[in-house]
Symmetry: C2
Subunit: 114 residues, 2 copies
DNA sequence: GTAACCAGTATCATGTAGTATACCAGTAAT
DNA sequence: ATTACTGGTATACTACATGATACTGGTTAC
């Protein structure tokens, strides 16, 4: 029950760090829903500033979660696309949604179940 | 692809909020590994302060993730135990570990896979 | 020429999560 | 009586994530 527990905790913290910020999930959501361009993503996420979006997109590109492509048309066009790796995060998201729904019931209704 | 998306995002944010802090996961980990008493938990988590532990335990009790029991022996003994609800979080944790491991490979080794 | 779009960057302000440190009341052992 | 344990609280500080706001350089349209 220990040993590679160290390693698992590390992996866990990586994941937590990755989704740590306030905007990560909304951004992933937006891009996975088909938004591709900077202003488009920005408009799809109420409340986000260009500063935060810019910062997050940069980090996400470095983490290989997004692919940034510059098309040298005129005017220049920049496209952000999710990688497979990013899409693979879907399972984690699904589990979190599942748990979050249950959590809401437990906390709000009090615990009837054991 | 929308509709209850609002609701799902909310559930997701609940979960994120729940694991948001720096110490939540280590504390859950510690308690699920059998630690029960305040100082015991505290010693099992390097770097945590009594203040943070106290604060977190309080919140976690309110969220029905922990059961706090005071045994009026002498000296007084306080026990923290995980609820079923807390243990049910294990699946999320497992998914996060799984993803975190893959993430590490993708980021560190560069992306050979598509 | 000026207004409006694109994809951002730069600078400064603020709030809150977390840290550091000390302390309290009670019990027990030496 | 002093040291060390228990389960915590109180106060002060600090750093970092985020927010607000303005600006840049290029293109297109009127």
């Amino acid at each position: 029950m220990a040993r590679n527990q160290q390693q698992e905790l590390k992996a866990l913290q990586d994941t937590l760090y990755f989704i740590g910020g306030k905007w990560r999930i909304p951004i992933i959501n937006s891009i996975c829903n088909g938004n591709r361009r900077f202003r488009e993503i920005e408009r799809s996420i109420p409340g986000i500033t260009t500063r935060m979006l810019s910062k997050e997109l940069k980090e996400m590109e470095q983490s290989k979660l997004l692919k940034r492509t510059v098309y040298d048309e005129t005017p220049v066009l920049v496209e952000y696309a999710p990688t497979e790796h990013c899409r693979s995060f879907g399972k984690v998201i699904a589990e979190m949604i599942r748990w979050g729904k249950g959590h809401r019931e437990v906390v709000i209704r009090g615990n009837k179940a054991k």
